[in-house]
């Protein structure tokens, strides 16, 4: 088992001529909750999709648990996308069946218990549920796995504060403590206290990667305040910070 869970070197992803990520070097260890922080369009979603193999890098290398992206890494990763990914006909139980078939670390009874606490009837069609409920079902699906790496793409965007607390509580009480949780968001104030580490992305480059405690100690301010400071300053050269 390699020491770092995520390692990437010179990771670059370009769409046509526009680079969404350019030359990202990053190492993330195990057993942490890491915030992938940056404004919209800074490359957060691109990075997450590269990790789960939905995008292919233009240049550079990317490894999860010492292996290149493929079926082996996909079985370690539990991914919450920024959209609904189920077919029209599916009920929550159909998704649970699918996950049980494909992921050995999926805990079926936990998923059902989470549905119960959400007030969701697992036999109901997903299509007939409200947007918020669908998102919660997907969260239950993702958190019911004992994964090595959870990739949560904007889990708290566009929900009310009560739902936000619920989602964060669900993540905190259900994730596998030996695994790492990578949460992308631009709403830092809400998740700052659950994070171990923060990674700042700006225009496709890593500006800062440090523990939240260190940031607070060194800067004497919250990660959120630092974030606002950095991203308000325009224009600023990327690279070393």
């Amino acid at each position: 088992m390699s020491e770092q869970l995520i390692t990437c070197q010179g990771l670059t992803k370009a769409y046509g001529h526009k680079a969404a990520l350019s030359g990202v070097d990053l190492e993330v260890g195990r057993g942490r909750i890491v915030g992938l922080l940056g404004p919209n369009g800074s490359g957060k979603t691109t990075f997450i999709k590269l990790l789960c193999g939905l995008l292919q890098p233009t240049a550079g290398t990317l490894e999860v648990a010492g292996q290149p992206i493929g079926p082996a890494t996909k079985s370690l990763i539990s991914y919450l996308p920024d959209r609904m990914y189920f077919a029209d006909w599916m009920r929550a139980v159909d998704l649970f069946d699918l996950f049980r078939d494909f992921y050995r670390d999926f805990d079926y009874s936990k998923a059902l218990a989470m549905c119960a606490s959400l007030g969701v009837e697992p036999g109901d069609r997903l299509k007939s549920m409200s947007k918020g409920t669908k998102e919660k079902v997907q969260l239950a699906l993702v958190m019911a796995r004992r994964a090595q790496l959870y990739l949560l793409d904007e889990p708290i965007a566009g929900v009310d504060p009560a739902a936000r607390d619920f989602i964060l509580h669900t993540i905190l009480t259900n994730y596998n403590e030996e695994g790492t949780v990578l949460i992308s968001t631009h709403l830092i104030a809400d998740i700052e206290k659950v994070l171990d580490e923060a990674v700042f992305l700006k225009a496709g480059q890593v500006m800062l990667h440090n523990s939240v405690d260190n940031i607070r100690e060194n800067e004497g301010k919250s990660v959120d305040a630092l974030f606002r400071e950095i991203f308000r300053a325009t224009p600023m050269e990327g690279g070393e910070f």
């Binding site: 193999g53 939905l54 995008l55 079926p71 082996a72 077919a87 699918l98 078939d101």
Partner: protein, 274 residues
């Protein structure tokens, strides 16, 4: 893993067709009652529903009804082909290159397994479509059903088969050829969509362009092979017509395999779900 994928894809298929298939059969039956005119089996037709006996006789009206029935035959046939065609496209496009692709491509499986599962499912749909189509036609036709199961009729068929035992073999060979050709057709669609996916914008348009491109390429190669004297070569081979059929199937399998590999390769190395 492939079986698990198939389970999922077949379930997905069943949810789409569980209404259409019985509906087609019921429609066939309903048509029989409405237009149940003796166009083919003149005179011998009669049908008893409850206390009513339908025994229409010939005439201009029934001939007119016969034309409508023929249109319906044709309509059912076209509908089934169209449904298969749309199914092949949507299950691949929505299921692997759309939002559902986020689910399928993050499963711990290989791309070729995803493609194969979609392909097998498409074949199943086509075969069941063909069966349902034939059944609907049989139901629709003003035949006397008791005659259809008349043991004398079946005995005749068996006797004919005994005389020409390879008829059955021909039947299976043609089925195999049909399935191979259909697989080729489905893979042309898959590969076209995958090629379209390589572009960063106008993916649908590029898919259509790729589809025509592949078809032109296919017919050009076909012409080339024919001009190089393939039919003469085939005729010169020391095989009977069964052998010729198997050679045709084998030759069709070459582009099938190539296109399957190309589609899987694109989905493995060039996937970009945005």
């Amino acid at each position: 893993m492939l079986l698990k994928l198939l389970k999922y894809d077949l379930r997905s298929m069943w949810k789409q067709f569980r209404v259409i298939w019985p509906a087609a059969l019921i429609l066939g039956l309903v048509n029989r009652f409405i237009f149940g005119a003796p166009t083919i089996y003149d005179g011998s037709f009669s049908l008893v529903v409850g206390n009513y006996t339908f025994a229409p006789n010939g005439g201009a009206f029934t001939q007119w009804l016969g034309v409508i029935t023929m249109f319906l035959f044709f309509g059912v046939f076209v509908a089934m082909v169209l449904v298969s065609f749309i199914f092949v496209i949507t299950r691949f496009y929505k299921g692997l290159l759309g939002d559902e692709g986020y689910l399928m491509h993050t499963l711990p499986v290989r791309s070729w397994q995803l493609v194969l599962s979609k392909l097998v499912c498409a074949l199943v749909v086509t075969v069941v479509n063909a069966i349902v189509g034939v059944l609907a036609l049989v139901l629709m036709m003003p035949l006397n059903w008791t005659e259809l199961f008349d043991t004398e009729l079946w005995r005749m068929i068996l006797r004919a088969l005994a005389k020409h035992p390879d008829t059955l073999l021909y039947f299976f060979e043609f089925c195999a050829l049909f399935l191979t050709v259909f697989t080729l057709g489905a893979l042309v669609l898959y590969l076209s969509m995958s090629i379209g996916h390589l572009f960063s914008s106008r993916r649908v348009l590029m898919s259509v362009v790729a589809y025509f491109g592949l078809n032109i390429l296919g017919s050009t190669l076909n012409n080339l092979i024919n001009r190089l004297g393939f039919p003469r070569w085939l005729a010169g081979l020391p095989v009977n017509s069964h052998g010729e059929l198997w050679i045709s199937i084998g030759l069709t399998l070459i582009p099938v395999v190539l296109m399957f590999l190309a589609t899987s390769w694109i989905l493995t190395h060039k996937l970009n779900l945005e």
